[in-house]
């Protein structure tokens, strides 16, 4: 397993270098050089421009520039942002990255979980109007024009029904005079949620080792779920800044739902067809013969095997979700890397744009790696040969 991982990591690194090369080539295709936009900027004196030119090595041969670029990237030196001079690009990106990641991860995870569940239930239910409705709905979600869809969602639920705020990260009025910093609070939310999830996952493994019988294991598992979710809720209930945290969560919800819905549709349709195939397998008949209850057959046997092709599709849909994330951030004015990218392009802040593009590549590759690992965990035939 570790050999597999090591091999994958190397592959990823190579692919990433290729990707960076493409980005660099794009940079070269830009009219003029990177510092062109600095000329008109009154904040940047000409000597600084000269200095930057030299530091960036723009007066050296092309291949040297390429190598320096690569090395610098891996060192985390991504240049200075023009539009937010003199902030370095890395600072700008690190600030926006968590917000994009949360949007992306929450939407994807939620969508996959719900999509898988519904696809599984529909395939088991076998026909009827519910199935038809869901299929039509799923196809609609897959083919709808996403920017238009996002706009309609925002209008419907934000403006017309008023259930959610209309875009943005926070509602300024709520935060006036607050002793808390929005970004810090956001990070606290992330950390606590992550800890709760970690406690539950590790706890489950511990319970499995220690339990002596089926009945006790079931009871302990329920207790564990209660503790982790309850602990999280309790923590925030007692937190003095809970209204502010609630505001952030409130703002997060609609973009997550919108981005998630599309992935939900695709996952559901895919799970359904995967289930229909799995249900034809021999071990399903055996499971029925063993006298297992319907739910066990559906979930433990059929769905568990259907998960394999669905996980593979996770990888393929990543590229789409990243693009969808950008549109979502734009429509909902969510201050993540997507909005940043569009703004950077608009004002020709090339270093920032290029760095964000490279980061999207990192994200995509990393997601691919995670999906690969997940697949090998799910399918012992891959793990153990």
């Amino acid at each position: 397993m570790t050999r597999f991982l090591a091999r994958r990591l190397v592959q990823m690194a190579v692919l990433f270098v290729v990707f960076l090369t493409i980005v660099w080539l794009l940079l070269q295709a830009m009219p003029g050089d990177i510092t062109n936009t600095m000329v008109g900027n009154p904040d940047i004196p000409p000597e600084v421009r000269m200095d930057i030119r030299e530091r960036l090595g723009l007066d050296r041969p092309l291949w040297q520039q390429y190598l320096t670029y690569l090395v610098n990237f891996f060192r985390g030196e991504w240049g200075v942002s023009f539009s937010r001079y003199p902030q370095p690009v890395s600072n700008v990106i690190w600030a926006a990255l968590p917000r994009t990641l949360v949007l992306f991860l929450t939407a994807t995870l939620l969508a996959f979980w719900m999509g898988f569940k519904s696809g599984k239930l529909i395939a088991w239910g076998r026909g009827g109007t519910t199935e038809q409705t869901f299929i039509v709905g799923g196809v609609f979600l897959q083919t709808v024009f996403y920017p238009w869809f996002a706009i309609v969602m925002m209008w419907l639920f934000g403006f017309y029904l008023g259930w959610f705020p209309i875009g943005r990260f926070i509602t300024a009025q709520v935060w006036q005079g607050s002793p808390f910093n929005a970004n810090d609070m956001f990070e606290e939310l992330i950390v606590t949620a992550f800890v709760a999830a970690l406690v539950y996952t590790i706890g489950r493994q511990v319970v499995r080792r220690l339990a002596t019988s089926v009945v006790w294991e079931g009871r302990f598992r329920s207790l564990l779920a209660l503790v982790s979710v309850g602990g999280l809720v309790l923590y925030w209930y007692l937190h003095p800044g809970r209204t502010y945290a609630a505001d952030i969560v409130h703002h997060l919800m609609l973009p997550v739902i919108t981005l998630g819905l599309v992935t939900f549709g695709a996952t559901m349709l895919l799970t359904r067809s995967a289930m229909l195939e799995t249900l034809e397998d021999d071990y399903i008949l055996t499971a029925r013969a063993k006298g297992l209850p319907d739910k066990a057959i559906r979930d433990r046997h059929a769905a568990r095997n259907a998960m394999l092709p669905v996980t593979t599709s996770l990888v393929l849909s990543l590229a789409f979700v990243i693009g969808g994330g950008i549109v979502t951030e734009f429509v909902f004015s969510w201050p993540g890397m997507g909005s940043l990218l569009l703004e950077a392009i608009r004002v020709s802040d090339i270093p920032l744009a290029a760095a964000i593009l490279a980061m999207t590549g990192v994200l995509a590759l990393f997601g691919h790696l995670v999906a690969d690992i997940l697949y090998s965990v799910l399918d012992p035939r891959i793990r153990i040969t």
């Binding site: 089926v214 009945v215 055996t286 013969a289 006298g291 209850p293 066990a296 568990r304 095997n305 399918d379």
Partner: protein, 347 residues
């Protein structure tokens, strides 16, 4: 009810005169777009305690449908028209879904055709056996007790205990078959149905498995129903056998008796078409034609289109399964005309 340990199972007292399973005039068909397929038509037979019964016939003759009916595992387009399947006197066809589910595996277990794929590839073999114990004996066994029981099961079929922690793809074909048998024994059922237990195995492994099954049957006083298209398998391990053709049971009796003196033309032709290594060379007589379309079965005796002894009566009236002496039953108007086979079967 607690699970009977493997030791207790050996030495179970069996009364070979007591009927365990009675299939009584079972009639069943499948509904398809084109109409109804008459898959099982008035099939009756009895399995006694500790008895090994065989059902032999071509593909599509209905033997698998009969087997699946015993566990009520038929697909949703299958309909039972009439008949009873009595286990210990209780009609299984009248039970509710939940009641039936409780009895599956605990009273009747099944070893499937192509047992290779009976295993879910993503779980360990031990966990899949444990699943049965958790379902039928929930709360009655601790994890340790379950483990011990499973280790004994594996020992009973000649598999090392460590294999319980392995995944199905790590087993060889023959080992997987043994593991399936071990799982079938897990709830100490009274009856095991073995549907083509040796198909897709090479001959050496085939032999081992059959010997294994025979041993288990005798040691644990279990009844087994063997389903096969391979007459040789049936000959080797069964006490009684039935021959099925086009959904009907055409001959039934003591295995040795049916082999030596087949009285139904179909059985006769079947046996004649099987070459023998030890016997003298003789001309093979392959059966001509194909089994009938069960959407629209032939009138009268279903075998009459292919039968060399057929007369007009056979086309008009269906012969009943009649006892011709010594528990040997035949469904044929002209069974007296069936000649003796040249050699007795060599076991």
């Amino acid at each position: 009810m607690t699970v009977i340990s493997v030791e207790d199972m050996s030495g179970r007292s069996v009364d070979p005169r007591k009927p365990l399973l009675e299939v009584d005039d079972l009639v069943m068909h499948y509904k398809i777009k084109a109409g109804e397929v008459s898959a099982v038509d008035n099939v009756s037979f009895t399995v006694h305690q500790g008895e090994a019964v065989g059902l032999v016939g071509e593909s599509g003759c209905g033997k698998t449908s009969v087997a699946l009916s015993l566990l009520r595992l038929l697909p949703s387009n299958a309909e039972y028209i009439s008949g009873q399947i009595r286990l210990d006197g209780q009609d299984l066809l009248q039970l509710t879904d939940n009641e039936m589910r409780a009895r599956r595996w605990k009273d009747i277990a099944m070893v499937f055709q192509g047992a290779m794929n009976s295993w879910n590839p993503v779980y360990r073999v031990g966990d899949q056996i444990k699943e049965v114990l958790d379902t039928h004996f929930r709360g009655e066994m601790t994890y340790d007790e379950q483990r011990q029981h499973m280790e004994k099961l594996f020992a009973a079929v000649g598999l090392p205990a460590e294999m319980l922690d392995r995944y199905p793809h790590e087993f060889s074909g023959g080992m997987r078959q043994r593991a399936v048998i071990a799982m079938a024994l897990a709830c100490s059922p009274q009856l095991i149905i073995a549907d083509e237990p040796t198909t897709a195995l090479d001959v050496i492994v085939q032999d081992q498995i059959l010997k294994e099954l025979k041993r288990i049957q005798h040691e644990m006083g279990m009844s087994i129903i063997y389903i096969s298209h391979d007459i040789a398998v049936i000959a080797e391990v069964t006490d009684s056998m039935g021959v099925m053709y086009a959904g009907k049971l055409v001959e039934y009796g003591d295995t040795a008796d049916v082999f030596a003196r087949p009285k139904h033309p179909y059985t006769y032709l079947l046996l004649k078409s099987t070459p023998s290594i030890t016997g003298p060379r003789r001309q093979l007589a392959p059966l001509e034609g194909e089994p009938p379309n069960l959407l629209d079965p032939p009138t009268g005796c279903r075998f009459h289109p292919r039968c060399p002894f057929a007369t007009e009566k056979c086309a008009m009236e269906e012969p009943p399964l009649a006892d011709i002496g010594g528990g040997h039953r035949v469904a044929c108007w002209h069974y007296e005309q069936v000649p003796d086979l040249e050699e007795a079967l060599v076991r």
